[in-house]
Amino acid sequence: MAQRFEQIYAEHREAVRAYVRRRAPEAMVDDVVSETFLACLRKIDRVPSEPLPWLYGVARKTLANERRKRARAAQGQFLPVFGEPEPVNDGVLAAAFNALSERDREVLRLVAWEGLSLADAATVLGCSGVACRVRYHRAKSRLASRLAAAASFQPEPKEVTR
């Protein structure tokens, strides 16, 4: 059992770390990765033979818990949702992507950034393969629509008082 955990940790630690880094600030990464593998150790007898999508799913829930903790800590005041890295080197894409719902963003990230199949993405998201496919195609359509609209619109710059 311990041997299996060690093997999973050695094989997938970097992938899980990269998954978290794509969704959270650096200061949170180590904690979330540690909690993810702690859950893996506790539930080692329930970890599927292909553990990576399962690990991503645990990391996803751990991140969500962390965000809820931050929301509680803010005690009803403004809470910056600053922790989510956005697409790099492409401002138009970043704006369009960030305007999508978290649900849409996550399925697109799993495919485009983690390189998962839709079946594996469904495992991460905890939904059926069909539901995941529908979610993916709708999210992709929404992103394409926003990009097409953004291409013909240039907002006026507006300063923010600091």
Binding site: R22, D30, F82, E86, A95, A112, G115, S141, A144, V160
Partner: protein, 182 residues
């Protein structure tokens, strides 16, 4: 077009993927004449509403509007065991923060912030907050950078993550230290 969107998103990965990506192939559908006619009519109708659409697009393409960042203070502990509140350091220049933390024997791990370009409602009665953005691990930051948060590194003794931003970053939120009682 839609597959290009996924390729474009893959190319913008903030933590590039190791090895080649196998993106799902698009499902090819037979195109009949009727949907094409529908699309043409819809496009003509939308052309007349271009102004309204552009205004709507501005909701996600515009820069930040009045986003405020309320920083919760942390206590840092140095080798001498005394606690240092971060309240007096939030909003200060990086060179000042460096001097204070160095004098306390606290090692700095710099994080330079690139704020997101989008705001969204957060609930809690807050009008806006920032979505997106990223912080990069760097060895140093310009002396005139502004420190907007300091977080103790719980895994390394006498060490803290110090988050800084460019002094005139137009996308940076307004800093508030109201949680410090000030």
């Amino acid at each position: 077009m839609r597959t290009d969107v996924i390729k474009r998103l893959a190319a913008a990965n903030p933590v590039p993927h190791d090895g080649p990506l196998h993106l799902p192939e698009p499902v090819r559908m037979r195109v009949s004449a009727r949907p094409l006619v529908t699309v043409a009519v819809a496009a003509a109708a939308l052309a007349g509403g271009g102004v309204a659409i552009a205004a709507g697009v501005g909701a996600f393409a515009a820069p930040l509007h009045q986003a405020t960042l309320v920083v919760s203070p942390n206590a840092l502990t140095g080798p001498d065991g005394t606690a240092l509140s971060t309240c007096g350091l939030i909003g200060a220049r990086a060179d000042k923060v460096t001097a204070v933390l160095d004098s306390r024997g606290i090692t700095i791990q710099w994080r330079f912030m690139h704020w997101g370009t989008v705001t969204a409602a957060t609930g809690n009665g807050s009008p806006t907050a920032i979505t997106g953005g990223r912080s990069d691990a760097v060895n140093s930051v310009p002396a005139d950078s502004i420190v907007w948060d300091i977080v103790p590194d719980t895994t390394t003794p006498n060490s803290a993550f110090v988050f800084a931003e460019a002094p005139n970053d137009p996308t940076a939120p307004t800093l508030s230290t109201v949680n410090c009682g000030g």
